[in-house]
């Protein structure tokens, strides 16, 4: 296994572990807490994902610009 593959496996594992902790944290919540957690999870996902979209769009736009 190469270092890159190992790194990928590790990152996947850590992402899964973080997801598990996040799910475990929601045990025994009241309705209001569950709603707040649901909104927070939505907000966190959109913020992270949209930031990645913007960054990647900017990168791709930079790569397609003609060299000056």
């Amino acid at each position: 296994m190469t270092t890159e593959e190992l790194n990928l496996v590790l990152q996947t594992y850590l992402a899964a572990q973080a997801a598990l902790f996040s799910i475990l944290d929601r045990r025994g919540q009241s309705l209001e807490e569950a709603i707040a957690a649901s909104d927070a999870a939505s907000q966190e996902f959109h913020a992270k994902n949209q930031a990645r979209i913007k960054a990647l769009e900017a990168r791709l736009a930079g790569e397609t610009k003609p060299a000056e």
Partner: protein, 281 residues
Amino acid sequence: MNVWKALFGTLLRALLLFVFNPLRKHGVIDQMLFDRLVDEGSQQILDIVITALVVLWSCRQKIEAYLIARYAHAATPTTSKSWIENAVKALSEWEKLKAALGNNAPSTIAKTLLVAVLIPGVIGLSACPSADRARIEKGSADLFTGLSTLSDINQAFLDAGEIEPQTALDNFKALEKIGTGLDTVRMRIRALGEITAENRNLIAALLDGVKDDLVSLQQTGVLGIKSGRSKQRFAIAITLAETGLSTLREFVVHVKKPVATAHLPLLNQDFSTLGKAAVIK
């Protein structure tokens, strides 16, 4: 038992420290995650192991008692009790299991495990209505956590050169579409006022829409991941998200008593702006 638990917990903690400390030192994981992995991780593993040991020990005792009774029935009247007990104890654990369950031991064990996994799920789904709304909200939160994980994995694949930047962008956009779809479902559910036997199918249809988006992400080949193994890992993550959606859907279609949503404090919030305000640059 507490002494053994403490001893085993210490050993487990030392093992986790040994595994994760180098990762922390090299900045792969931060201090907060490291603390959780070592503290909570060791506690969870310890709880699971202790429960499993108690259940296994109890099963072993019951199987031995059952075999002694069965052998005693088959033995001649002059056979002593101690002879039968020794004969049963002389069997290996696997032989005892096979003798107790018959020739289909592996299949019976698999079925028993399946039932053991299904029972808590069934009990959970038939919980009282006051917990129903919370269950849906928690399910939504879990799904967003799953989407977030997919986004993280997509980023990791991009960084590792496993996918082309344009494909990664398509994946991020597809995930965003699914997240927005899930937001719509959540808001529709909250706006309904209550979930009843009449409108539960409408909610199920909304959930199906989100699931279709998720399935199409995989089927249309948008993912574009180069290696088979990476593709498999992504597919597993998608399957997990799909399972979450299916569980949520199963719960909704089985709602019988009306579940009020009108009193929810966050009902009137404008969720379309959520996330946009927090986007970096």
